[in-house]
Structure formats: C-alpha cells, structure tokens
C-alpha cells in the first residue's frame, strides 16, 4: 500500500522569515549573472495522481545547456514547471549553491525566466505594452529603450504599437522570446521554443543561447527536435519514467 507523506514539522512563521524570503532585490544593483550551480536531488513528480518520473537528479554548471528529450507525456514540461517553482515536487529538492528554492523562493524567481509553450500575451494590449508590463513584473521599472532594443533584436520593433491580436503565431513567439533580453537571469527555461519560428528566428535564438552561456548563464530546453548547439548535454527522461506507457 502506498504510505502517506510523513509528518513534516511546521516551520515557525515569523515576520523576519517572511521579510527575508520576500525582500525584493534592491533596484540599484541590477542582477549581474553570478555564475552559480543549480541542482535537484531525486525528484519525484506527480501529474494529478499519476506518477510521471522519480529518482531524477539534475546538475547544472554555469555555461551549460541541457536538452530534455523523450517521448510525449514523459514529463518534460512537468520537469520545467518543477524547476521554475510553479509546482513543488512531491519528493526531492532543488537548490542553488546558496540555499534551497523553498527557503528563498523570491531569490530563485529573480534568477529564472520561463518561456512556456503558451505565450502569456494579452491580445488587446500592444506589443510594447505587453513586454513593458512583463518586464516591470520581474524587475524594477525598466526603461523604454531596453524594451525597444529587445524588440529590434527580434525584428518586431516596427510592430511596437500594434495590438497583439493582429500578430501571427510566429511574431507572437518572437515577442515572447524577446523577454529573454529585457531581463538578465541565470537560468533560461525554454519549453518547445522553436515552434512556429522561421529558420532566421531559430538561428537568432541559437546565437542568443550561445552568448548567454558564454557569460555564465545556463539553460534547460525541452524539445523534440535537436538544437545542434555545441556543448549541450542531452538528458533522456525515459530512464526515470514511472508510468506504464513508457516502461
């Protein structure tokens, strides 16, 4: 019989803890990429009540890219959601070299950028407003110039004032990816970044990834087709799978 979760002690909830965990980064010091390891130890992930994978440990060294491979439903997206901190793993922990994610969630969130399969864009807002508001969500008040330069890199700065509902899927995907430029974070989590992208955008994304890794950044990419970037480590989740379909 599967035994239930043991009885963890309730961490004392003091104001000091609350303030320490939720102190937003001081705006003067913009977040420089501090080269820092990130790893997770024997993670067990459940989707609903179904076990997806277990006993997975992952180690990320600065300047390294990991590509997650495996058939559909193996848990690539679930692993990205676990790393990003949206959902907590049933067992196992993720930790940076200076503390676990659950102890300092706010510091963890300021070090990652998640580009999910769904573009989180508001159709009625314009391109620039979408990017501006998303950047202000993650960093103290950005300047308009950084937004426009990010759009220019992805070649959609001409559409700055058109509402997003008039954009094509590829343009929307470029707008979502331009978020990587407005906010310098250590860890990029990309979920199927190359869908709906034309070849020019894909090569642009590869160049950005390489530049990001040279400056000490890291990336985890969940994708089905190979990205052909040099020093990427391919991790196949099949060996950790728990579900009947993949055994």
């Amino acid at each position: 019989m599967d035994c239930f979760i043991s009885f963890p002690k309730l961490k004392c909830f003091t104001l000091k803890n609350f303030l320490r965990r939720w102190s937003s980064p001081d705006p003067k010091r913009s977040v420089i990429i501090i080269s820092m390891e990130f790893n997770g130890k024997n993670i067990l992930c459940k989707r609903g009540e179904k076990e997806v994978f277990s006993g997975l440990s992952i180690k990320l060294v600065p300047g390294e890219i990991i590509e997650l491979h495996g058939p559909n439903g193996i848990g690539k997206t679930s692993l990205l959601r676990l790393i990003s901190g949206i959902s907590k793993p049933t067992h196992g922990t993720f930790y940076w070299s200076d503390g676990t994610v659950s102890e300092y969630p706010e510091r963890h969130f300021s070090r990652i950028t998640l580009i999910g399969s769904a573009d989180a864009l508001k159709p009625m807002l314009t391109v620039e407003e979408n990017l501006y508001d998303w950047t202000w969500l993650n960093r103290p008040r950005p300047e308009r110039s950084t937004i426009i330069s990010a759009l220019r890199v992805f070649g959609i700065d001409a559409l700055a004032d058109t509402p997003v509902r008039f954009l094509s899927a590829g343009q929307k995907r470029r707008l979502t990816l331009s978020r990587l430029l407005t906010v310098e974070t250590n860890l990029w989590l990309l979920d199927e970044p190359t869908i709906a992208l034309d070849s020019e955008a894909v090569s642009l994304l590869k160049k950005l990834l390489v530049k990001h890794c040279e400056s000490g950044g890291m990336a985890v990419i969940a994708t089905n087709n190979d990205m052909q970037i040099q020093n990427t480590r391919k991790v196949n989740l099949l060996s950790y799978a728990r579900s009947r379909q993949h055994e």
Partner: protein
C-alpha cells in the same frame, strides 16, 4: 496521532476492531434516548407534547455545527501539513453534516407549525442553519467540480476554512437582522429554562447522534480510501508499489 492513523492499512485494522463497539453504543444511546424522549419525559406545561420534537431538532443542530467545525479543522490540517488523509476525512464528513442540517431544518419547521403557526419561521438560529446548509452545498460542489480530485480537495478545504470564519459572522448578523424585523408578539422558543428532566433525553439523543456520525464517517472514509486505491490501480496499472 495523525501519523499513526495515516497509514490506510493500519486505519482499516483499528477501525474494524472498533466499529462493532461504536455501532452498538450508537444503537444503545439512540434507543434509550428515544424511549426517554417520547415516554418518560413530561410534556412541557406551555408547549404540551410538541417539546418532544426538540429532542431531535436540537441535537441535529449541534451535530450540523460540530461536523462543519470538524471539516474546517481537518481541512486546515490538510492544507498546512499537506496531509491527503485529512482532506479525505473532510470530504467523507460532508454528506453526514448536510443530512443533519436537513434534519434540523425539517424538524425545526415541524416544531414551528404548532408553536408559531407557520412552517418556516425566520428565527435567527433556523436561518443561520439554512445558510450553513448552503456552505455545506458549496463545499461538496467544489469538491466534485474538478477533474483532478486532489485539486478539488484543496480548494474545497480553503472554502471550508473561509466558511468556518464566516459562521459566527452570519449567526451574529442574522440575530441582528431578526431583532430588526421581529414582529413583537412572537413567543420565543427557548423562553422557559429547560427543565432538568428534559436535559437527560437531550444528551442521550446527542450522544446517540455523535456515535452514529462516527460510525458513518469511518465507513465513508473507508469508501473513499477504496475509491482512491481503485483509481490509482487503474492509473498505475496493476503494479502496486509497496
């Protein structure tokens, strides 16, 4: 204590042994209670024999409130310590609570007809039990509203907590509202102090109700455990991990 009962296998062993005892006690208390309520206790000098309905109405009101606080406490445990067994027992207790609320409302209106001449009386306590009924309904509806049962349990638990904070507020505001719109001449139900000879059947019936509730709660928890196990077996395909 929670960790000890948390393991379903151990829970089943313990409850299998205790079940006949509690069921017997429930039957015993109920029978003595009914006999003393209907025959032994004297009719009230003011209300005559209708006071006998009180022996059913008041304990079911107590049970309705008691089970709702049980649900709130187990939900709080489930949320704070992420204890799925607590959510399970809260979900198992809800139908029992809602039955006692319905019992309380029907016997209340049956008592109101001879006393105040109307089936539904806007008495403060009766109205707050009516809203308690809707709180139960919201809890059960939210429990079943999601495809993924663990999602349903969590949001229903949070609703139980918020509802629990609200029960005294609703009671207070309905009291205030009642005194506001109260036509002066109504005879207050609990005017005369309850005579001691009426207290014994009241407590006997209350004890009987409590033991019945415990028995049914344990059976329903077993039912939900079995359902969970069957669901997991279907998903994970026959390979029962240890």
């Amino acid at each position: 204590m929670f960790n000890f009962l948390a393991n379903p296998a151990r829970f089943n062993q313990v409850t299998d042994r205790l079940m006949p005892a509690t069921a017997g006690l429930a039957g015993l208390f109920l029978s003595i209670g009914i006999i003393s309520a209907l025959i032994i206790s004297p009719p009230d000098y003011q209300q005559g024999d209708t006071v006998r309905i009180m022996y059913v109405h008041v304990p079911s009101a107590w049970m309705a409130l008691f089970i709702y606080s049980f649900i709130a406490i187990t939900s709080a445990i489930g949320l704070i310590w992420r204890h799925p067994f607590a959510h399970l027992s809260a979900q198992a207790a809800a139908p029992i609570g809602i039955t006692f609320t319905i019992l309380c409302l029907t016997t209340g209106s049956l008592w109101g007809k001879p006393m105040w001449g109307a089936w539904w009386v806007w008495d403060a306590r009766l109205t707050s039990v009516l809203f308690l009924f809707f709180l139960y309904l919201g809890f059960m509806a939210l429990n079943k509203a999601f495809d993924d049962p663990s999602r349903g349990e969590k949001s229903a638990a949070i609703l139980a907590l918020v509802g629990f904070i609200n029960v005294p507020v609703i009671k207070f505001s309905v009291d205030w509202w009642n005194t506001l719109h109260q036509p002066a001449s109504l005879l207050r139900a609990d005017g005369p102090a309850i005579h001691s000879s009426m207290l014994t059947p009241l407590f006997l019936m209350a004890l009987g109700f409590i033991f019945v509730a415990v028995c049914v709660l344990v059976t329903r928890i077993k039912v939900l455990l079995l359902k969970r196990r069957i669901r997991l077996m279907r998903i994970n395909g026959g390979k029962l991990r240890s």
